[in-house]
């Protein structure tokens, strides 16, 4: 098994949240994940809309992405649940179905790529869990995040379908909590932890349902005493940061829940300065919490 990863940034991160891409390029190698040079990837493509429209094209474009990394002897590490899901599902289907593989490779004629079925796809949380390991991760922590009481939202496509994703139990996930606890933070349980962030409902025109999803989850998180929400997917990030602004206004919520992309917290725990974690790009912030995350600031507060 190779331990060299090609970074798959997807569409949403490079176009709307480049600050997360910049962070991944620094923090993943810092925690011990070796990245290759950038490869010529396209959109994954998305499993809900493109995957629902034209299966042949969805399979072929994903197979091309897989082949591009495979040809370099690299695995794929993804920053997005949707990308991970498409690439892992297509990888699984083509790997076990020779006829389908031949057909899809036929669609790649003229691209100079051909999928062989020797590649592995991992979400970055899965790569940290499997390749770095909890104990090793704990040993790398220089600044334990003891002020963090985190609710985690892994997201649907990180864990389902279980038969393909293999990462965690979709109905009772625990690994994301453990990855947060490894950084010295407290993980807070909440009832709606496995429920969808609601972004897909907005994609298909049900804006109200999408807002209700954010409202219900945040209310549940807040009532359970978390002081922030941690995500590992840019779509969930968008829902709980950008869309939260609208939800707070529309439903007159008396609270806000700041969110972090896991790599931001990981960076701080590894000893990177808080101000280098691009948190200033967030719409919802808790500056007191940010100040407490910085060891120097903590001394001043005390």
């Amino acid at each position: 098994m190779t331990n060299k990863y090609a970074l798959f940034t997807g569409c949403l991160i490079p176009s709307r949240y480049p600050h997360l891409e910049a962070l991944a390029r620094i923090i993943l190698p810092a925690v011990g994940i070796q990245l290759t040079e950038d490869l010529a990837f396209s959109c994954c493509p998305d499993p809900i809309q493109v995957g629902g429209s034209d299966r042949a094209t969805w399979l072929a474009v994903a197979a091309r992405n897989l082949a591009v990394a495979e040809e370099q002897g690299a695995s794929i590490i993804s920053l997005c649940n949707g990308c991970t899901n498409t690439l892992a599902v297509v990888n699984n289907q083509l790997h076990r179905n020779e006829k389908l593989r031949e057909k899809v490779n036929g669609f790649l004629t003229g691209t100079e790529h051909s999928y062989q079925g020797t590649i592995e796809v991992k979400h970055f949380l899965q790569a940290i869990w499997e390749d770095i390991g909890l104990d090793n991760l704990k040993s790398k922590v220089k600044t334990p995040l003891t002020v963090i009481k985190a609710a985690t939202h892994g997201g649907c496509h990180l864990v389902s379908p279980h038969e393909v994703m293999h990462f965690d139990n979709p109905l009772d996930p625990t690994k994301f909590d453990k990855l947060v606890q490894a950084l010295g933070a407290k993980a807070i349980e909440y009832d709606l932890a496995t429920k969808c962030c609601g972004v897909s409902l907005a994609l298909t025109g049900d804006q109200k349902a999408s807002l209700r999803a954010v409202r219900d989850k945040l209310t549940n998180i807040y009532k359970n005493g978390a002081n922030c929400l941690i995500v590992g997917c840019p779509f969930c990030y968008q829902q709980f940061d950008l869309v939260q602004v609208r939800v707070v206004k529309q439903f007159n919520l008396p609270f806000q829940v700041p969110i972090f992309y896991y790599l931001q917290l990981l960076g701080i725990a590894l000893g990177h300065p808080v101000e280098n974690m691009n948190i200033s790009a967030h719409r919802i912030r808790d500056r007191d919490l940010e100040a407490m995350l910085s060891p120097i600031e903590s001394v001043i507060v005390i």
Binding site: R16, A40, C43, S53, A60, C156, S160, C196, G198
Partner: protein, 195 residues
Amino acid sequence: MPLITLKYSERNVSLEMKEKLGYCFKCAVCASFCPVTLFSEEYATRKENAYDSTYIYDLFIADDEKRVDIAWKCSLCHYCIEVCPQDIKPGEICTAIKEWSFHQHKAPENIYKLMKTLIADGIIFPISTMTKHKREKLRLPPIARPVVELEKIAQNTGLKSFLGEYDKLQEISKKLPPIARPVAELGKIAQDTEA
């Protein structure tokens, strides 16, 4: 609790897409995990614990137009698939309906635009000047996508010609004159004939 009772005409349409649907014993576990049922106003405000008040019930019994409309709400979160004791995979039925509707020119219009963007740009979100500026500031490489190869793939899968046909038909339907009928005169005739 009322159980799902599929009308046979509609049931057959769904069965064609997914033969395993015939094994459904209407336990409603799928519905209790479905985010559309949970968050969509249409379903969340219906009476609780009734399977005929759920998204998945409607998905199975609705007529074509409604079925297509609701199938596109599915986020393929897979929870219905994870919990189904009969391994029916309702989420995959949504995907089958989506794909059928796409090729029947019945999918939402933005889906056709999305597919064109995928092939033309290799990225499904627009790259604004602000994004370019942000990326430069963060010292990130410019976004470059393999558009020539994607066009080749779209040719090979038939998507390119399909989208070309779709555009042509859209153009034709835009040029058609609006339907105007002499309703006032017809009303007069109806009055006269009654008299």
